[in-house]
Amino acid sequence: MNKAIITVVGKDTVGIIAKTSAYLAKNAINILDISQTVVGGYFNMMMIVDASACAKPFEKVGGELAKLGDGMGLKIRCQKSEIFEKMHRV
């Protein structure tokens, strides 16, 4: 399994989840979990995804998601999940 964490940060607006998940569906990336919160007036969303079936290289997915975010005035980052697991788990 090729697990990644997608984070979306910015002003809340209509269609954030719809557009992001449409992109993921198109690229055969499976969403395992979604959570969201508001910190300091900013919308924060996190998706845990499985990109094992995705044909595109990881780097390209990250670039395309960032571009999708730019179009909505949001910062979208896609990172491999190990950085979070290693940092927060003994």
Partner: protein
């Protein structure tokens, strides 16, 4: 399962608090490149560096993108050049040619520094060691990416005072040779005692002869993260809470380094060596060890209490870091350079911090007098005296100490010099005007200290 607050915390460290992996340094043994012909040796060295490190920069960038954490520097460290060139270098100029070969390789590989233009002379100098040391001023003025270091002592051997005397002169000559660029050559030259074989940080990195053929070492950083955490949650709290917080933060920072190191090792097909869990500041605002000391409760570094605060910080960083990685090495602790840390620069300008106080601080932190600009007319013997003092602290306390001092040609106390980039800018600090010339003029070495009767 990872939760959203943990993800936000990690990304805040990266995006707002300057968390980065400071360097992936590939250590490469050049022992098998030595030949009695200089041309052949240079060819062998260039060829091996190209073969082993060709994917280093690309792989480092890919790992950075995959995990979303900046990997600032990709570097190479080599077997001390004095050993590599000992069979073929007959004059200092021969070593300069080897340095230029290394510089050419660095450019081609895209690494920002190659460390290991070095001699390890803790007990005595071979003819090749002396030739290399004499070549340092030319080598550093005629190359861009070479870092040089000389280890002049150790706890086991004592201090080679002939090398200490020579290094005072070499530092001055290097300053003169790079006069037109504020004596920047000296920023790439460090004199060490108890130098580790696996240090990934420049300018003191070299690939010691105790190491294998090739290895990947990683230096983490993150003073900004510690500083922000202390500012958010530790004002006025007890020492217990303070220490616990630093420890936990150091653990998190080091885990990122550990992950990057394992990944780099896997992707490059090179064994993982060590994580150096140092707090390495940069001139960026907020990325400062001095600011941590201020957050602990000092008006400026240099105030009474500084040595104690730094001792505490250094120890907690190690305690948190060793839990995060099974292989910790290199320098591992808090760095206290002056020019690379805005808080240190402010402290010098405020009159709070002197070389003597910095010297005391080096007794309890990971390295030594680092990136300190002094007046250009400081005598060579005084620089040797400063080196000897630091080496003595290292020798007696069984720790690494170092001196990277820049006697900036034609600058006086109170002036400022700009080195640019990660090297930052430095206020020129005052040096004691009292002489140690007769002490430094003595020949031979200071004996190793007794290892028992530690009371």
């Amino acid at each position: 399962m990872i939760n959203i607050s943990e993800v936000i915390e990690t990304n805040k460290m990266i995006l707002e608090e300057n968390l980065d992996v400071r360097t992936i340094t590939m250590g490469i043994s050049l022992l098998d490149c030595a030949d009695s012909s200089l041309a052949k040796t240079c060819d062998n060295v260039y060829g091996k560096l190209m073969r082993y490190a060709k994917d280093l920069v690309k792989t480092g960038d890919e790992i950075g993108r995959d995990f979303g954490v900046p990997i600032v520097n990709k570097r190479v460290s080599i077997t001390p050049a004095a050993i590599v060139g000992s069979a073929c270098c007959r004059k200092p100029g021969d070593f300069v040619r080897l340095a230029k070969t290394l510089d050419r390789a660095a450019k081609r590989l895209g690494v920002n520094f190659i460390g290991g233009y070095s001699a390890v002379v803790s007990k005595g100098m071979t003819p090749a060691d002396e030739l290399l040391i004499h070549s340092i001023p030319d080598a550093l003025s005629e190359t861009e990416h070479i870092c040089s270091s000389v280890n002049v002592g150790s706890t086991k051997t004592g201090i080679d005072m002939d090398a200490v005397r020579l290094m005072g002169e070499i530092v001055k000559k290097t300053a003169a040779k790079t006069k037109s660029r504020d004596s920047i050559g000296c920023a790439k030259l460090v004199v060490l005692c108890n130098a580790p074989d696996d240090n990934p940080f420049m300018a003191g990195a070299f690939h010691g002869v105790t190491e294998g053929d090739v290895v990947v070492n990683v230096g983490v950083s993150g003073p900004g993260v510690v500083n922000y955490v202390l500012g958010r949650s530790c004002r006025g709290v007890s020492f217990e809470v303070l220490c616990e917080t630093i420890k936990k933060t150091a653990f998190k920072i080091t885990r990122v380094g550990q992950l990057v190191a394992q990944e780099a090792s896997k992707r490059l097909g090179v064994p993982f060596g060590i994580i150096d869990l140092s707090l390495a500041p940069t001139p960026a605002i907020g990325d400062s060890v001095a600011d941590i000391l201020k957050e602990i409760g000092l008006e400026h570094p240099g105030a009474p209490g500084t040595t104690a605060a730094l001792a505490l910080l250094n120890d907690q960083v190690k305690k948190g870091g060793v839990m995060a990685s099974s292989y910790v090495g290199g320098l591992s602790g808090a760095f206290i350079p002056v020019s690379e840390d805005q808080g240190m620069i402010d402290a010098v300008n405020a009159g709070a911090l002197t070389i003597e106080k910095l010297e005391a601080m080096t007794c309890v932190c990971s390295v030594g007098l680092d990136m300190i600009a002094v007046p250009g007319d400081t005598p060579a013997s005084t620089i040797s005296g400063i080196i000897a003092d630091e080496a003595a602290i290292g020798m007696v306390n069984q720790k690494t100490t170092a001196v990277r001092i820049i006697p900036v040609a034609s600058k006086r106390e109170g002036d400022t010099v700009e080195f640019g980039g990660l090297l930052g800018r430095a206020p020129v600090m005052g040096v004691s005007r009292f002489s140690c010339e007769k002490f430094i003029a003595r020949k031979g070495r200071i004996p190793a200290p007794i290892h028992s009767f530690k009371n």
